[in-house]
Point group: C2
Chain length 170, copies 2
């Protein structure tokens, strides 16, 4: 399959990159395929690669309660499911390019999927060889991660508010 820069151009992660810089990213993209119901990444596993959806739909499954809660019904109810597809030029797992973290969500292929995969090593090697590229992409990345941090902070405040109201009443 001929590689095409357009799926990358639409993403938040690659905004403000020149076509030449996006072409460099393409060189480190590996095209990978998953079948319906395949698990693309698993929460808790160490990840070192990110993905861009070219074709198909995936589901991000995020656990809301801790491991070891011995009640499958409660555990199942306390998950958040978000779908992503190629129309949104969706990217996932991108924090793995920064640090080898445990994945914070499981991602499942809802349909057969074609994705671009970028490894942390290839990404860092490219960034170290072209600091302007590295700077621009990290500025985008930092913006994405900061926005998520803000949202997570707001969630914490909401949850603590609910908890304090319940505890006050009891």
């Amino acid at each position: 399959m001929e590689k095409d820069i357009s799926p990358l151009q639409g993403t938040e992660l690659f905004k403000k990159l020149s076509p030449e810089q996006i072409t460099k990213v393409l060189h480190i993209c590996r095209t990978v395929h998953f079948f319906e119901n395949d698990i693309i990444m698993k929460e808790g596993e160490i990840g070192d690669r990110m993905y861009i959806i070219l074709k198909g739909t995936v589901e991000i499954i995020k656990r809301l309660i801790m491991d070891g809660i011995d009640d499958d019904e409660v555990a199942e109810k306390n998950k958040v499911f978000t779908r992503l597809d190629a129309d949104q030029h969706s990217v996932f797992g991108e924090i793995a390019l920064l640090q080898e973290f445990k994945r914070t969500a499981t991602v499942r292929a809802v349909t057969d999927c074609t994705l671009y995969e970028i490894s942390k090593n290839d990404f860092l090697t490219l960034a170290e060889s072209d600091f302007e590229f590295g700077y621009r992409i990290l500025l985008n990345m930092a913006g994405i991660v900061s926005a998520r941090l803000r949202k997570a902070d707001e969630d914490t405040i909401k949850l603590t508010t609910v908890l304090s109201m319940i505890l006050k009443e009891s």
Copy 2:
């Protein structure tokens, strides 16, 4: 006061920068003073500068429950206080260098303080003029923000777990 690079060298934000690059950061540092009890930044206000503690101790005050909860006692109880001082080469407000966000905490001077202040504009101008510098500092910044995001995610999971246990019992 002669500017000294050593307070910057010890910080997570400036790690792996060369002495020359740290000297460039010093050029955009403004030395500012606050008196005991001064509010250095206020939660909810838009911030466009970060600080590095040179002398003194500050307190980070983070609200845990939402505005509009009409109960001062509850509101007061649901705050987290963290102290930072010069010994830890502490930095705060650094996300303001990435985006003009509302401050997520209030910072108060516990003692008289001397700080370095860096504005977003000066930082971005410097980074755009030296992409290697920009890349290295953003890689550090992205690491810091990612670690915070991971912690915030864990907090959300803990809070939801407690909440689901309480709701199950009631």
